[in-house]
């Protein structure tokens, strides 16, 4: 059932995730340097309810879903 292009995307995804994983630790930011990283816009500029609604809206109007680590669907409008 899985066509060749699906396999290619899977391989690409694995390569990207591995590349980022291997690259981990290249930049070391110490705790006292993280003032800016703790700002709201850098951590979560959108709250869970907004993210959930946006995902629901896109799922009801578009054929693509995912990329959030959360399950989509869950309603008849999908």
């Amino acid at each position: 059932m899985i066509p060749g292009r699906m396999r290619r995307v899977s391989r690409t995804a694995i390569v990207v995730v591995l590349a980022v994983t291997v690259g981990a630790g290249c930049a070391v930011v110490r705790p006292h340097e993280r003032e800016h990283l703790s700002r709201r816009a850098m951590t979560a500029d959108q709250d869970p309810g907004l993210i959930r609604f946006d995902q629901h809206k896109a799922g009801a109007r578009e054929g693509a879903d995912g990329g959030t680590g959360e399950p989509g669907g869950g309603c008849g409008c999908n």
């Binding site: 995730v17 981990a24 070391v28 309810g49 578009e62 309603c75």
Partner: protein, 362 residues
């Protein structure tokens, strides 16, 4: 709908008079109004999160979806209808040093559709918290009927199983920049057509026929960068999606959050979505014979399309008004969004949000 606010309001009042703190949490009340050509949705919701002990946290949400529609694309049988969907979710996460393990359940119910999903998440903070790795696994099951169809229409009942595997990594790239990549793989097995929607094929009108399995993949990357000189945060994202129905989608997104002092911010967001339609999607079908045309659909979501969304968000905290103590961190938010879609199925949409987030200690 007003009744839905009574319980959260009572909870807010209770939190306001809470005794001295030993842990904390936050509660967000949000209501959304969504309007497109033939469909209107009102969705009040409440999200909560609070600490449990030294290493645990609980989060949950409850929402009501009140939909009024005359659109068959929204699930109706061609006539106007009003429907309510209720969804609740509850999760618990526990931290073991660098590891955080969590489990979340979600249940949604409407007259012709129920859905439940359970996910487990494991997250590790590595390299002095410069690098975070998370994996998620989930399983769900949906049940669908055409309970809203006229009495003489034959009853349809279907079940859909869903599985999700996800991996994400987040890497600090400097004191003002971080990047993340998420890969989702999901598999659907079961009834995936709309039980109301009909297709004109070969001169006859028949129900939709979709494949019973669907393998979906999405990879999304996001970079956040804070510009100290102007107190601006730039968030750029891109998602590539493919599935074995032939849908391929590219979704870039850009948000700019501008702080105005320490207590206010304005965000401007733009999202572009372009997708190639499913292999079996067509404006018309020459035959309804399953031997020559195994799949039939009238689902506008499976068509080739381009959508654009533009959103403006204004946030303000209680400190702006001179409130102190726990009320200084209360955050109010207004968001207005306009959503443009270039196909004939849904039309453009306007969306308005109002939200209030109340941190609390107990």
């Amino acid at each position: 709908m007003r009744g839905a606010w009574l319980a959260p309001a009572a909870l807010v009042a209770a939190l306001a008079s809470a005794p001295p703190a030993i842990a904390d949490g936050d509660l967000t009340l949000r209501t959304v109004y969504y309007k497109e050509r033939a469909t209107r949705v009102e969705q009040p919701m409440v999200d909560g999160r609070f600490d449990v002990g030294d290493h645990g946290s609980v989060d949950g949400h409850l929402l009501v979806d009140a939909i009024t529609s005359a659109s068959v694309a929204a699930g109706a049988d061609g006539a106007g209808f009003s429907e309510r969907r209720v969804e609740g979710g509850l999760g618990y996460a526990h931290t073991f040093g660098r590891l955080t393990a969590g489990i979340t359940g979600r249940y949604s119910s409407e007259p012709d559709y129920t859905s439940s999903f359970v996910t487990a998440r494991l997250q590790a903070e590595l390299a002095q918290k410069n690098f975070t790795l998370a994996v998620v696994g989930g399983v769900g099951t949906d049940e669908v009927t055409n309970a809203g169809a006229p009495p003489l229409v034959p009853r349809i009942r279907g079940a859909l199983d869903a599985y999700l595997v996800s991996a994400s990594v987040t890497q600090l790239l400097g004191a003002t920049t971080l990047a993340s990549v998420t890969y989702d793989l999901s598999y659907l097995d079961g009834f995936q057509q709309n039980p109301y929607r009909m297709v004109v094929a070969g001169g006859t009108v028949v129900g939709e026929r979709h494949p019973t399995t669907r393998l979906r993949q999405a990879i999304a990357a996001r970079v956040r960068r804070y510009l100290p000189a102007t107190s601006t945060t730039v968030i750029a994202g891109y998602r590539l999606y493919r599935d074995d129905w032939g849908v391929v989608a590219h979704t870039p997104e850009l948000r700019v959050v501008q702080e105005a002092g320490d207590t206010m911010d304005v965000a401007l967001g733009y999202r572009l979505h372009h997708q190639r339609g499913a292999d079996f999607w067509s404006e018309s079908y020459a035959s309804a014979d399953p031997m020559t045309q195994p799949y039939l659909t009238a689902d506008g979501k499976l068509a080739t399309m381009t959508t654009q969304a533009l959103a403006v968000t204004f946030g303000v905290t209680g400190a702006t008004f001179g409130w102190d103590d726990r009320w200084a961190a209360v955050r109010g938010e207004l968001r207005v969004e306009y959503y443009l879609q270039d196909n004939r199925y849904f039309g453009n949409a306007g969306i308005a949000h109002a939200a209030l987030t109340i941190p609390f200690e107990y």
